[in-house]
Amino acid sequence: MEVYRTCLEKVLAGVPTTLSLTLWSVLLALLLGILLSFGVLSKWTPVRMLFSVLCSFLKGIPILIFLYVFHTAIDGIMGGIDHLFAFYTYDIRKPPTYIFAVFALALSYAPYMCDMITTALHTIPKGQWEACDAGGFTAWQKMTRIIIPQCVVIAIPNFGNHFVNLLKASSLACMVTIMEMMGEARNYATMSQRFLECYIVCAICYWVIFIVFEQAFRLLEKRAGRYLQPGVPIARRRRKLFHMTNTQEGIFEEVK
């Protein structure tokens, strides 16, 4: 029992690293995915082809290779930019492994984010674009006020999937000495020679975090997508829920 408890403590100590690693990677992946989607949707065929190949390349390579490559290249890259910026000197004893792991994870997931964005864009009916055009909107107004808000809602389930996948993939970062949950578990397992117990504890911890995020995204999807579902107007529905006395059906009686 003692093993389980100590192991749990170790793994929990790694949770903040796992979460921050996941969060930063997702954000960076999203950013890169947006950039990629500009390329993939470009009206110039050569640009489009170039970016499609790039996406395919990034998708085709195992995350672990990215991690190892970046890890191996750290000294080279950081040594190179060492004296470029006055405010930064590279300390070879403290390599920024964490940042490079974020980059590796983000690069692997960027093409999926790109796919997510282009799919969402293609799901917006043509009429939505035309209504903006006919109204004399600029391209910027059209995108920011009508198209992107709808895309975000459409992309939430997809984004949630990528998020939890990346959460799990972040465990690979232990291979480049980052002490997130998996790293802590592995470390303690080696120390105590109780591998099975440690990995079971770690697995359960991942599962719990997974459930939390899965439910969070499900809730988000439901709330954000309310306007796509028929029913009573949102302001009124909320008020009604407070006064709700009878069955679910009561909420929907006033449709139409």
Partner: protein
């Protein structure tokens, strides 16, 4: 008072690949006219309407709305946008913004295009919704409205911009039969306000009573053009007669 020209379509040609859809369309519309466009399916009515606000860019010719002319080959997005801002369109499929409530749909153009203050826009939008009889639905999202209600919101959204020219593309043909009436009576009310309108429809009875002018199109050209009595009751060309006979049958 001299007649004020609101719309000139000059010699407009449009083809999709080798499908010649518009073959030299010429139409002049004066202020306050309610023009109904009739014609068989595939005759280019929708395309002609979409060429007016450059949802389709014509290959040849020019469009003038209230003295603002844009040539078919115009590349400047700004000029095209300026022309579009003089018009408003009501779509067959309503095309309300799905992420906006009814009142927000109507406000959107005021806030975005006319840079109106939000509160002022909301007041104006609510008034426009009241005009189409939908004030009590103002906080409903399009998905929560019936087709007829959505189309009335669409009409309010177009009207509130006070366009020089209002375009309707088959505003009732996606509706269940029992909902057609409410939308047509709404358009009838709009027509009485003196706004210049162009309506593509298959509702002959409506055309007869609400239009001041009827245009019959076929094969991408205007075949007949006159008052409702002239075109619908006493059509000159055989094609128009055939078409009307088929529709009335």
């Amino acid at each position: 008072m001299p007649e004020e020209r609101m719309l000139s379509i000059k010699n407009v040609y449009k083809h999709f690949g080798d499908n010649n859809v518009l073959n030299g369309v010429n139409i002049e519309v004066n202020k306050g006219e309610v023009v109904v466009i009739l014609g068989p399916s595939g005759s280019g009515k929708t395309t002609m309407l979409r060429c007016i606000n450059f949802l389709e860019q014509a290959n040849e010719g020019s469009i003038t709305v209230n003295a603002y002319t844009v040539g078919a080959k115009e590349k400047s997005k700004k000029k095209i946008r300026n022309l579009r801002r003089k018009t408003a369109m009501v779509f067959q499929q309503y095309n309300l913004f799905r992420n906006r409530t009814a009142v927000e749909n109507v406000m959107e153009g005021l806030v975005v295009v006319k840079k109106m203050h939000k509160e002022e826009a909301r007041k104006k939008a609510e008034k426009a919704l009241a005009d189409v009889g939908l004030l009590e639905k103002k906080d409903f999202y399009p998905s929560q409205l019936s087709g007829g209600q959505q189309q009335r919101v669409g009409i309010a959204r177009a009207l509130v911009m006070e366009p020089d020219l209002l375009l309707f593309d088959e505003p009732t043909s996606a509706l269940d039969p029992e909902l057609v009436g409410e939308v047509l009576s709404c358009i009838r009310k709009v027509a009485k306000t003196g706004i210049t309108m162009m309506i593509v429809t298959h509702e002959i009875a409506f055309a007869k009573e609400a239009a001041t002018r009827v245009i019959f199109m076929e094969g991408g050209v205007v075949v007949e053009d006159g008052t409702p009595e002239e075109v619908i009751d006493h059509p000159k060309t055989e094609r128009t007669q055939e078409f009307l006979a088929r529709i009335n049958a």
